[in-house]
């Protein structure tokens, strides 16, 4: 396995720029998730890496070997990059076993043990080798596709939304199986997804692709806790945004005086608090603010509560454990746990469409995410 270096990569289709200078370094053996809304250029990035498309400019190096650059374009078959497509793309005319060993030499293909060993490496029974791929479930097909991609010991494995076509239960199980298989193979892998929970749970690092550039590359916790700007905060999870004034490492806002995760310049700022950082308390304490419950979306394990602060006209979203959900129209006191982020506010705060208690739909979220860029 090898490391991957992408520098100043650009690509346009018919004059419309898709990638505008992507920079990324993936160290050997790690799994990086590329998170992006649809149309952000995720798939284009993978297709440039695998060599199905030709980059307009910039370079791609895999294990120190340049595969794409000015007047250089190594064809896909010579890059040694495993590719797992969204729909698996198993060859329908071959058995599962024949699919798995497809990229191996003729001699290795003849060895029946090889396919069985590869199937077991992705957690599938060896007996599947003789079955036609159509008989497998979607999740199993994806695992076969991964085994096929890993078989020729590629330098890098690319996974293009491999779980998006699966239903929720199967997705979780397949994700785990894939993560285990990738770790066992010590593969350097790039996972493209639009699902933020998938990116956060699977990636050792998450790179957010936005408008053709990587907005932030960071470990999942860093990305979630300390997103570089407000739009990113809203894209990765839910965010409560409030106006505030920063001074000496703290910020004063409608939720009180909060400690800053990254103290910056003093002055007017936009404060970002995660809904689960806000706690509901039955009685007033020092540092709590009074609020009224407007609406509740109950999900079972937790609930999203929309609260109107007494001191403000803007509602905030609070996430509480399911059994702690308050009743509508009751009052409660809010406190904030942990540190918060603040972003310099030059212009007045953008009036975003008010999130309903249930949180925004992914489409709304994407719209807001791209609109503020």
């Amino acid at each position: 396995m090898a490391d991957l270096r992408i520098a100043a990569l650009t690509k346009a289709f018919g004059g419309t720029p898709i990638l505008r200078g992507v920079e990324l370094v993936v160290s050997s053996g790690s799994l990086v998730a590329i998170l992006g809304a649809s149309g952000s250029g995720k798939t284009t990035l993978l297709r440039l890496l695998s060599g199905f498309e030709r980059a307009d400019s910039g370079t791609i190096e895999i294990g120190g070997q340049r595969v794409s650059g000015p007047s250089l374009h190594i064809p896909p078959e010579r890059r040694r990059i495993g590719y797992v497509a969204q729909e698996g793309s198993l060859f329908p005319h071959l058995t599962v076993g024949e699919n798995v060993v497809f990229g191996l030499s003729r001699a290795e293909r003849r060895n029946p043990v090889k396919a069985e060993a590869l199937l077991e490496s992705v957690g599938l029974p060896a007996s599947y080798a003789v079955r036609p791929p159509q008989e497998l479930s979607g999740g199993e097909q994806q695992r076969v596709a991964l085994a096929r991609a890993l078989a020729p010991a590629p330098k890098l494995v690319l996974l293009d939304e491999p779980f998006s076509a699966l239903d929720a239960a199967l997705r979780l199980e397949t994700r785990q199986a894939v993560a285990v298989a990738l770790a066992a193979a010590g593969a350097t892998a790039l996972l493209v997804t639009h699902d933020q929970s998938e990116a956060l749970s699977m990636g050792m690092e998450v790179a957010v692709l936005r408008n053709g550039v990587l907005a932030q590359v960071a470990p999942p916790e860093e990305l979630y806790r300390r997103p570089v700007d407000a739009a990113l905060a809203q894209f990765v999870g839910e965010a409560v945004l409030l106006p505030g004034v920063a001074s000496a490492g703290f910020v004063a806002c409608a939720l009180g005086r909060l400690a800053l995760a990254r103290p910056g310049a003093d002055g007017p700022v936009e404060v970002m608090v995660r809904p689960e950082q806000i706690r509901l308390e039955p009685v007033a304490r020092i540092g709590t603010v009074k609020a009224k419950v407007l609406a509740i979306a109950y999900f079972g394990h937790d609930a999203s509560v929309e609260m109107l602060l007494e001191a403000d006209t803007m509602p905030v979203t609070v996430r509480v454990a399911g059994h702690m959900a308050p009743r509508p129209e009751t009052e409660a006191w809010l406190s904030v746990e942990g540190v918060v982020m603040a972003y310099p506010r030059s212009a007045p705060l953008v009036e975003l469409p008010l999130p309903l208690a249930s949180g925004k739909s992914p489409a709304d979220k994407q719209r807001a995410f791209t609109a503020t860029n």
Binding site: F13, G14, S50, G51, F52, E53, R54, S71, H73, P75, P76, E77, R78, R79, R80, I81, G82, Y83, A85, E87, S89, F91, P92, H93, F102, G103, A145, R148, A149, A151, P152, L158
Partner: protein, 530 residues
């Protein structure tokens, strides 16, 4: 590879987001150019006539008579084919006619009988069946399935909910048929009728045997008497213009019809109308139809086969070596023509499915143009072309194979394209990311997956070539005789018994191949004639 890729890369805008590999583009352009070649050459030859002469040549009794004959036959045959084809389709698809599955197969089978064999059968049955009446009978028998197939498909695709809605709004059975069913069948019906018209325009052998004068027979006569020149080219262009008009019309109605059927999801099947006592006349009608379309050709060939050789009223007595040689020639040219057509169609089908853009659509449409160019026009153009420019190719086997490839490229292309479109691009990309070069991808992924489709295309072309008469007659190397030319030669001299063995073998090849298509190569097979 990299050089070629970078050279074509500059044309990326012209070929969509991704550029097709240069050799494939070149091969596709070659195939399309080959189709344009005969038409182009005919046009160039026709320009040898001054405008005034052209008017004189076109506005004269002969052209009038040919037009009258041709158009008259087309109008009559369209009506009979539309009626028989649509009625048969309705009975098979929508009624409880006993044995409707069998009738459905038998109704399509006449497509496997070459029209000039059918014409040989009718002529040898009765000499009175000549000229217009004979032509109408033969054309109807041969081509009504061209209406039957699309109308039957449309009937299967109709949403019964629409009819039920009409009934609930107070329509009677007949009102429902005329106001709801028929309008929806119209695209299929018109498309089928236009195909009948197109095939009537291009048919030669059947009319020649029936002594019915049309453009094709006239062109042949002019060539035979050495009168072919710019005048012939002009006449050929009139014919091509009529054909292309039919072709464009067919494309238009078919396009509209197809879209109308899209997006239906799963439907209930329509309720079958009970026929009650009317099933007896219906059965009698089907029996008569099959008797005329299959019984007469098969029966007459069988009858003449059993006659003593002395009944062969010609010096060309049937001999086994002759039969064997003709069979081998037909099969050999059939295989060569099929291989050539599929080879030409493959790159075209590949780039039109993988790199769709207006340029590839243009290339594809150009190739389909071959359907509108009658065999006689292609053959005459190729003869003039080789005689004037490439003498060594004149009357060579290669030229004949090229002529077949040009004529039947559309049929190969339909199958190839359907097969290629069914292979998701992801499969090729998966193979390439696993380290396979383009040739290995073609061998290990494309070939196995498109094999049945390509086989179907090749089989269709094989049947057409093995039974092809016009171009073979004009272009075959001296001494080469195929089954078709033997039947033609013997029948022209009224040696019906002598023609019978050749006709029998032809029918055998045709019916066997059609059976193979229907049973082994799947439904893709019939797409070519649908």
């Amino acid at each position: 590879m990299t050089l070629a890729a970078s050279a074509i890369g500059k044309n990326a805008a012209a070929f969509g987001p991704r550029a097709a590999p240069a050799p494939l583009v070149a091969a596709a352009i070659f195939a399309s150019a080959l189709v344009v070649l005969p038409i182009g050459f005919t046009i160039i030859q026709a320009t040898g006539v001054s405008a005034r002469d052209a008017v004189d040549l076109l506005v004269r009794p002969l052209v009038g008579r040919l037009l009258f004959n041709t158009v008259g036959l087309i109008v009559a045959a369209s009506a009979t084919c539309a009626f028989i084809g649509a009625a048969a389709a309705w009975f098979v698809e929508r009624t409880d006619l006993p044995g409707r599955k069998v009738w459905g197969v038998l109704a399509v089978a006449p497509l496997a009988v070459p029209p000039f064999i059918s014409s040989y059968a009718w002529v040898s049955l009765s000499n009175s069946l000549q000229d217009f009446a004979g032509a109408l009978v033969v054309i109807t028998c041969a081509y009504y399935p061209l209406v039957y197939l699309p109308v039957a498909a449309a009937l299967r695709g109709l949403d019964p909910a629409l009819e039920e809605t009409a009934r609930s709004l107070g329509q009677t059975t007949w009102g429902c048929f005329f106001r709801v069913v028929l309008p929806q069948l119209r695209p299929a019906l018109y498309g089928g009728v236009l195909l009948v018209a197109l095939d009537t325009l291009t048919e030669f052998g059947a009319f020649s045997l029936l002594r019915f004068r049309t453009f094709t027979t006239e062109l042949y006569a002019q060539y035979r008497t050495g009168l072919d020149g710019p005048e012939s080219s002009l006449l050929a262009l009139v014919l091509v213009a009529l054909c292309v008009a039919c072709l464009i019309g067919e494309l238009k109605v078919r396009g509209g019809g197809r879209y109308a059927r899209v997006g239906a999801g799963t439907r209930r099947n329509s309720r079958l109308a009970p026929l009650a006592w009317t099933r007896w006349p219906a059965l009698a009608g089907f029996a008569a139809l099959i008797l005329g379309t299959l019984g007469v050709p098969l029966g007459m060939v069988g009858y003449w086969l059993l006659q003593h050789a002395s009944a062969a009223t010609s010096p060309v007595a049937p001999s086994l070596p002759l039969l064997l040689a003709a069979t081998l020639a037909s099969v050999g040219y059939g295989l060569a023509g099929a291989a050539a057509a599929v080879l030409l169609a493959a790159p075209l089908g590949y780039i039109t499915t993988r790199y769709p853009s207006r340029w590839t659509v243009l290339l594809e449409r150009t190739a389909y143009l071959a359907q509108g160019v009658p065999g006689i026009v292609v053959a005459l153009a190729l003869i003039s072309l080789t005689v004037q420019l490439i003498r060594p190719l004149y009357q060579s086997a290669i030229l004949l194979v090229f002529a077949y490839a040009i004529l039947f490229l559309p049929f190969a292309l339909v199958s190839v394209r359907a097969a290629m479109a069914q292979v998701p691009r992801g499969l090729e990309e998966a193979a390439r990311s696993l380290g396979l070069g383009w040739f290995a991808v073609a061998r290990r992924v494309l070939a196995p997956l498109t094999g049945p489709g390509l086989g179907a295309g090749a089989t269709i072309v094989f049947v057409f070539v093995a039974t092809e008469l016009t171009s073979t007659l004009l272009l075959a190397p001296i001494g080469t005789r195929t089954l078709a030319t033997e039947v033609w030669a013997n029948t022209s001299t009224l040696a019906f018994a002598a023609a019978a063995p050749f006709a029998a073998v032809m029918l055998l090849i045709s019916l066997l191949s059609t059976w193979l298509l229907a049973n082994r190569l799947g439904a893709v097979a019939f797409a070519g004639r649908d």
